[in-house]
Amino acid sequence: MNQNDIQIDDTFAEAFNMRGTRVLITAQNLKWAYNAANAMTGFATSVIGCGVEAGIERELAEDETPDGRPGVSILMFAMGSKVLMQQLETRMGQCILTCPTAAAFSGLASEDQISLGRNLRYFGDGNQISKLLPDADGNNQRYWRIPVMDGEFITQETTGMVRAIGGGNFLVLGESQPQVLAACEAAIEAMKKLPNVIMPFPGGVVRSGSKVGSKYPKMFASTNDAFCPTLKGRVKTELDRGIESVMEIVIDGLTFEDIALSMKVGIEAACSLGPDAGIKRISAGNYGGKLGPHLFKLHEILGT
């Protein structure tokens, strides 16, 4: 299969069940909403070392936020509810509570509710104030007003937690590092416009894809040598002679459909640069289909 004369491998991305949540961050202006959100989603590229995978989903206009201030929405994913709860509380305390003018609100309606400011309120040392106010649908929501040095920190008590999927991905293979990066940037720009997904790695792109296991017993993951261009000829490679660089885009999303759509949009955007821009193939990372329950088959995704 080809997309704009670029080969699409007959393979699939293999993804896993995760737990996800959405938090709305508002502030005096977008600059400070981003300062808070960037801190909150910092060091959150992979659950392997960070506990959670998180990213900014999109900007929010003033009429989209509970307090009428500009903001951004954040998506955060973890392998289990306990880790997600721990990480959310820690990051709320260190990144949102501390950020001037920032406030945090629930971004997901769900039966499963996890603490957003429920425990953070004790920072108020007894001076915190609870407010139960109806939302636009008439359902009462509990907020906490916590006195801080810049005025008051406002946070909703809980946010929703849902079953989600992490690890959707595709690989961009090309003639040179700058060309592959340019294609990935085009893909990320297109994918960032979609709701319910984040690409948690730096700039949305990861250059160090991994395989399971290592020659070193203590390492449970190591470099994906089959896709390392400098090892062509030395290891069992997946790369043709003309491929000098490979980069991966990893996607976490709230549903299978959200991830599938973002992969389709991203691949089409990357391929829109054409073979003359040095893009040779699109592939995907998997573990033979034995580990993750969700298989995103590239040909099926692009055929829809």
């Binding site: 509970p66 003018t101 001076n127 104030i129 907020y143 406002i154």
Partner: protein, 222 residues
């Protein structure tokens, strides 16, 4: 469904306890059932009110005056709208929901209120918000003596300056983003409070004769 409406028939000249006319007590009752309910002594609802409508989650009082007392006492949810003045103990021990008084309220409005929203568009009498435990009470008009006496927690929102009180301490003038959230929650309520936009307010904390954790916010509308 039309709101369950109580229209005062006669010119009431003595107090009438309306504490039984709340959303929970009136739920699933027919008009006939409601009309024979005893309010106090030998006074039934039908003696004093014309009853119409059937939606007991939305209760409206019309043709009211200052002698109707204890409206919304212990109400757990729903909305009560008073299209005129009312008497003492409006929203006493209120547990939730919304009460809107379009006119003036008597003494002890919001007494021991625990939760919910009580909005008085006119004036409030003496001891407004006395012993209030939580929730939000708003008054657009003037307030009487002994304001927020023994108020423990919760928010008293005022549009006009209160009299100085020894047991309330001045915390200064502030811009409070929380007020945006509060005003947004008024959006679906038919009240003059929904027109307020200022998030700047003078804050007092009190009543320091008890917990001192309640607040009075005087809106700065300049």
């Amino acid at each position: 469904m039309a709101a369950l409406t109580f229209t005062l028939k006669n010119n009431l000249i003595r107090s009438l306890d309306c504490s039984r006319l709340t959303t929970d007590i009136l739920a699933n009752k027919s008009t006939a059932d409601i009309e024979v309910m005893v309010l106090e002594a030998y006074n039934t609802v039908g003696d004093w009110f014309t009853v119409s409508g059937s939606d007991s989650t939305q209760i409206v009082f019309k043709g009211t005056n200052q002698h109707l007392t204890h409206i919304g006492k212990q109400m757990p949810n729903g909305t009560i709208t008073i299209e005129g003045d009312c008497g003492d103990f409006l929203g006493q021990n209120m547990q939730g929901g919304v009460i809107i008084c379009k006119g003036n309220a008597g003494d002890r409005a919001g007494d021991k209120m625990r939760r919910g929203l009580l909005l008085i568009e006119g004036n409030a009498g003496d001891y407004c918000a006395s012993s209030l435990m939580a929730g939000t009470l708003g008054v657009l008009g003037t307030t009487g003596r002994y304001l927020a006496y023994g108020m423990k927690r919760g928010t008293l929102l005022l549009a006009k300056p209160p009299a100085d009180q020894a047991t309330w301490v001045d915390c200064g003038l502030h811009t409070l983003p929380f007020l945006s959230l509060l005003f947004k929650s008024f959006t679906n309520i038919d009240t003059k409070f929904s027109k307020i936009t200022s998030t700047r307010a003078q804050r007092w904390m009190g009543d320091i004769s008890c917990t001192g954790k309640a607040e009075i916010l005087l809106l700065d509308q300049d």
